[in-house]
């Protein structure tokens, strides 16, 4: 059942988007997505960890049996999360100050174990890497979209403090749209509301696209 590359890509980015459809990894998605820079930092970390864990789990898949695969997968994921945490402290110390708590929690992001369990351990290396990259990118796009919406509505700015990630040259990337923010969007309930709106938007687009091509709807009834 080797899928096509196009299939893997659409699934990760849209059809089975880990954040908007599978609703995996909600803890970091909801907690960190209050500004673009925080979202981007955590999104990139998750993206890289997912690719690396998929890569390793796919390459060792022949050595694992039913009893050992879960501990082995979690061990691999935890290893890369720990490495990401260490490297973040070494390279982006100030950003680590802000999102460090949630970097360690990437290990509990079910999107990672989910991909390891349902894809990487059943497929060859290139496919596993592609799947990790596409799922990671899908998560990255979703969390950055949440961050952008919440930062614009809550703080009235966009791309504030990007120097934490891109160095001093990025310090003046901030777009100030308004001096007043709508507080609710940066508080935890705002995270749920924003996510709900994004999911609704995605479903709306799917519905419109589905109506346009009825044939596609019939071959793919669960959507």
């Amino acid at each position: 059942m080797t899928p096509s590359a196009r299939d893997v890509a659409t699934r990760g980015l849209w059809q089975d988007n880990p954040a908007l459809v599978q609703l995996l990894g909600l803890c970091p998605l909801l907690a960190v997505s209050n500004t673009v820079v925080n979202s981007l930092g955590l999104g990139i970390a998750t993206f890289l960890v997912l690719i690396m864990s998929n890569l390793v789990i796919s390459s060792i898949r022949r050595f694992l049996d039913e009893n050992t695969r879960l501990p082995a997968q979690i061990m691999v994921i935890a290893t890369f999360v720990t490495c990401a945490d260490i490297l973040l402290q070494a390279w982006f110390f100030d950003l680590h100050h802000r999102i460090g708590l949630f970097v360690a929690l990437i290990v509990t992001n079910c999107a990672l174990l989910g991909r390891a369990e349902s894809f990487a351990r059943r497929n060859t290396l290139p496919w596993a890497i592609l799947d990790g990259a596409m799922m990671g990118l899908g998560f990255l796009i979703a969390i950055v979209a949440m961050g952008a919406i919440r930062e614009v509505l809550g703080h009235g700015t966009l791309f504030a403090n990007m120097n934490l990630l891109f160095g001093p040259t990025a310090a003046n990337w901030t777009l100030t749209l308004s001096d007043n923010g709508f507080l609710l969007t940066i508080l935890p309930p705002g995270a749920f509301l924003t996510l709900g709106c994004l999911i609704a938007l995605k479903n709306l687009i799917d519905n419109i696209a589905g109506k346009r091509s009825r044939s596609r709807l019939e071959t793919n009834p669960q959507n």
């Binding site: 925080n38 490495c83 070494a90 802000r98 999102i99 923010g181 940066i186």
Partner: protein, 190 residues
Amino acid sequence: MTPVIFRLTVLAACCGLLISTVYSLSRDDIRENRRAFAVRQLVDVVGDPAAALVALDDHLYRVEKDDAPQGFVFETVTREGYNGKIELWLGVNKDNKITGVRVKSHQETPGIGDKIETGVSDWILSFNGKSLESPAVEDWMVKKDGGEFDQFTGATITARAVVAAVRQGLERARKQQGDWQVMDAREEEQ
């Protein structure tokens, strides 16, 4: 069973090896980052790069210039924040006036409570030059509670905790400045 255990052991060893390699490669960078961060904060709190800092213990420094004490930098901690404890560096001069306040560590909500960091907003600078006389002790509160200090949207609790912690720090400094003046420097060098 043996081969299964063996495989897991090998995998665990590889994982451990990878982590320790990454860690030993970045250990110096991380230590340097931490040190630079701590030094940057202490210098900011003193507000005078030419002054020397004499460590009296882990949480207390005497600011000296030409061997004469100019003031003190000490740590003050509050648990009244939104999440966990907030550790602050507080700098005062001989007249018990604030030369600077910086957050040493905190776990307030990113994007909301972290406005107490200088990297995020200038709020913490509003303590500079304040003392227990100005504003009066009863005005050492956020505006929402009828005091002198701005709170920031969404994190009144954080601002309230920091204002109270700074006031308590000043009270402590007023009581103990005399002892700190004559205290011996810490013996061991770091």
